[in-house]
């Protein structure tokens, strides 16, 4: 597991650029955390880095929004917030968003836990202060290691990788 403190929106942006550089399709990235921890903001930063232009609005209402990134990369931004607790996520059209060729970002994956395959990268954000967030990231050990090194080099606070 990799942990760090994101002390500002700029630090979150720097982290997003480093993470985006390590993503290759197909992959599933899940983002967990309470309301207001910055899940959508982080996905927006990731999508920007991956080549999405224009507005990236919250998909809470539409549940999913798809984009084209650099080099024909297909990107899906899914938000299961509206499914709520106890919803039958089997009713969600997963095959459209986990198509084996895209990068898929899923906020509130808890609501779809029974339907989702294991995430390639799982991100947890927790409130620390109004501006800073505690980050927890789980990925393959090699990715955690190189990402942690890059984050330290970029000056991100409290970076630690533990087996």
């Amino acid at each position: 597991m990799l942990t760090a403190t994101l002390t500002s929106p700029e630090a979150t942006g720097a982290f997003a650029r480093l993470l985006a550089a390590r993503l290759a399709a197909p992959a599933l990235v899940t983002l967990r955390g309470e309301l207001g921890t910055g899940k959508t903001t982080l996905v927006r930063d990731l999508l920007r880095t991956l080549g999405v232009e224009g507005v990236v609005a919250s998909p809470s209402f539409t549940l999913a929004q798809s984009y084209d990134g650099h080099g024909g990369l297909r990107l899906h931004h899914v938000d299961l917030y509206r499914l709520g607790p106890g919803a039958d996520a089997a009713l969600f059209a997963w095959e459209d968003y986990l198509d084996g060729a895209s990068l898929t970002f899923v906020e509130w994956p808890e609501a779809g836990a029974a339907e989702l395959p294991p995430a390639d990268i799982d991100v947890v954000l927790r409130h620390r202060t109004p501006l800073s967030r505690d980050l927890e990231l789980r990925a393959a050990p090699a990715i955690e290691k190189t990402l942690a090194d890059a984050m330290i080099a970029a000056g991100i606070d409290d970076v630690a990788a533990t087996a």
Binding site: L35, T40, V55, A57, T62, L83, G86, A87
Partner: protein, 361 residues
């Protein structure tokens, strides 16, 4: 007289309406048939019936809207809803001269139910079919009050927050939009943080009515220009509630926190809408979408427009929330599609009308 059967199934309400488009014309874009009497009676008289079958009970068990549940319920409710719209209007199938339907944006499965039904009815009755964009339908709702283009229209709902300059009919240019959460999402998520039941927007409005809007000074730092942002406000509410747990627990103070939060949303919506009208040199302002049901927004927008000598058009709540009558009001300004071309129509989830247009700063 030219009667249109209108169908709208973009989200979780199944709606049908009969709208009189006042003859085959009505494409001049000036805002409806000028011959039909006074400005405030003209549009309203065109709506012969409007039926909305709400699915809220079906979704309450899930704590939210589930797209596939919405699609199934549309399938179950649509035939009865259409029959009720015809009966309510006192109209027979033979009286219809066209069908109009929402093709997007919205939940794709839900839209497809309405579109398939509309195609089937058009085919069976040998009628032309008009495809209507959901956002254009919201803009057109104000034509029921007799607004004339050009005008500024704020459309705010759970999925959209759009400041549009309506130039002619339902042709519009985007002046501002949300950069993160929609206004309705800000209401619903704020309500959830305040511990109010789903759907929270209405509950928050009711609670806020008993509170003091200046109780908490929530941040008003906004994006430049006419775009909106609500995500930071939601986080500010969260931190306020965390830091004042005991205080916020008393009912009166909770009402004041709700009122202050609502005020921050409404300030932004009203401020930018009025500024847009002034920048564009337009004298008429309209509003649509589910958030336009918010009582504080209706009052504040009315006051702000009166203060500046702007004419304001706020449709009744039933025309602001999703309904099929507004689909007919929009269809008056669109070209009907003949058989067999309409068979190729498809539904769309995202907003091509917005993506195609450059956002003006």
């Amino acid at each position: 007289m030219s009667l249109l059967l209108c169908i709208e199934t973009s989200c979780d309400d199944t709606s049908a309406a009969v709208v009189d488009t006042g003859g085959a014309g009505g494409l001049d874009g000036a805002g409806g048939p000028e011959s039909a009497g006074g400005p405030h009676g003209a549009g309203a008289a065109l709506i012969r019936s409007s039926i909305v079958s709400s699915q809220h009970e079906s979704h309450a068990a899930f704590g939210g809207v589930v797209p596939e549940v919405a699609s199934r319920r549309h399938t179950e409710l649509l035939v009865g809803t259409v029959a009720a719209a015809l009966a309510d209007a006192g109209v027979a199938w033979d009286d219809l001269e066209g069908v109009a339907v929402t093709t997007g944006p919205g939940l794709i499965g839900a839209l497809l139910v309405g579109l398939a039904a509309a195609k089937a009815i058009a085919y069976a009755r040998r009628l032309p079919l008009t495809a209507v964009d959901h956002l254009q339908a919201h803009l057109a709702a104000s034509y029921a009050l007799g607004v004339t283009a050009p005008f500024v229209c704020l459309t705010a709902s759970g999925g959209h927050t759009l400041l549009a300059v309506v130039e002619r009919g339902v042709e519009f240019r985007v002046a501002g939009r949300t950069l993160d959460d929609a206004a309705g999402e800000a209401f619903d998520k704020g309500a959830r943080l305040l511990g109010l039941p789903y759907p929270g927007g209405r509950e928050l409005d009711l609670l806020a009515a008993r509170g003091e809007p200046s109780f908490v000074a929530f941040p008003r730092s906004l994006p430049q220009g006419l775009d909106f942002s609500f995500s930071g406000l939601k986080t500010a509410l969260l931190y306020y509630l965390r830091e004042h747990q005991t205080e916020a627990a008393t009912e009166a103070l909770r009402a004041s926190v709700a009122a202050s939060y609502q005020e921050a949303i409404v300030d932004q919506l009203v401020g930018k809408t009025v500024r847009c009208a002034e920048q564009e040199g337009l004298r008429r302002v309209a509003v649509g979408g589910g958030v336009a049901a918010n009582s504080r927004l209706r009052r504040r927008l009315t006051a702000a427009c009166r203060e500046r000598g702007l004419e304001v058009f706020i449709p009744p709540v039933a025309l602001c929330t999703d309904n099929a009558a507004m689909v007919g009001l929009a269809a008056r300004h669109l070209e009907p599609i003949a058989w067999p071309q309409y068979l190729g129509l498809d539904a769309y989830a995202a907003e091509p009308a917005l993506r195609a247009l450059r956002v003006r700063r």
